[in-house]
Symmetry: C2
Subunit: 155 residues, 2 copies
């Protein structure tokens, strides 16, 4: 077996900064959303539904869009259903199934929370970067997403 190709000091710093930044950022955004009774994952689900036709998505599509397992999403949707943000609808004509649908209260919530959330994303991430750095983030992470989605769809 070949010697492992260990990370260079700079690669290691880049990798660790990526991990730490993501963790700190998730904590901070979660913390700021908690004032509205939401988590970052709740917010992402509300965004996805609010951008979909008729404010509804198949559970399987929503799981793909938010990159989580069906079972984990199902627990989360149950909590959000209890909070009145979404409802589940079962479609009898369609064997593929169950839909998650944004409620009126869910729609009011995302509209009320979005201005603060976008200010958080700007303050803790986007506005710290130059426009050139924003372009590089898009370029790099789109490439990483494409690579990993390919592995995922090959499974």
């Amino acid at each position: 077996m070949e010697d492992p190709r260990w990370l260079s000091p700079q690669e290691q710093r880049a990798w660790r900064a990526h991990l730490a930044a993501h963790r700190l950022l998730s904590h901070q955004l979660d913390r700021e959303l908690q004032e509205f009774g939401l988590s970052l994952s709740d917010y992402e689900i509300l965004v996805n539904l609010s951008e979909s036709p008729d404010h509804r998505m198949r559970m399987s599509e929503l799981a793909d869009a938010t990159i989580q397992s069906r079972s984990r999403l199902s627990h989360q949707i149950s909590r959000m259903e209890a909070a009145g943000l979404v409802i589940r609808e079962h479609c009898e004509d369609d064997r593929r199934g169950t839909f998650a649908v944004l409620t009126g209260y869910g729609w009011d919530t995302i509209r009320r929370v979005a201005p603060d959330h976008v200010a958080s994303v700007r303050g803790h991430f986007i506005d710290l970067l130059t426009p050139a750095q924003v372009a590089t983030v898009e370029e790099i992470y789109t490439q990483v997403v494409d690579h990993l989605q390919e592995i995922r769809s090959a499974r």
Copy 2:
């Protein structure tokens, strides 16, 4: 109240790519570490301990280093203790506390797993980037980490 400064299309693409890439990457690395019975968080704790003098850290330092709450870390260390990877040591002379200490088995485990893990980090992230992009990742995310650590320490 001023109009919110919504994200531009490019800022939005950059932000969403960052979130999606991190989620996909964590899933993939977790999945590959599962073959060794570890999660990505377990791996990070093993790395931190293996790089510390005498392979031991105060629980409070370890919580800071891995950016998580004391209570969450405590649950994780209990699971890792049950797996034989670490032990807890209480220091009577030191009121600040409890230490987590790498066991011999924990040390063997990190040495056995590291070559595969570094290959995963390269294959799914570092080797997809040019050296200039690696430098930009370090630059951008170090800045984000510094900003968020400052907020954290001001609390």
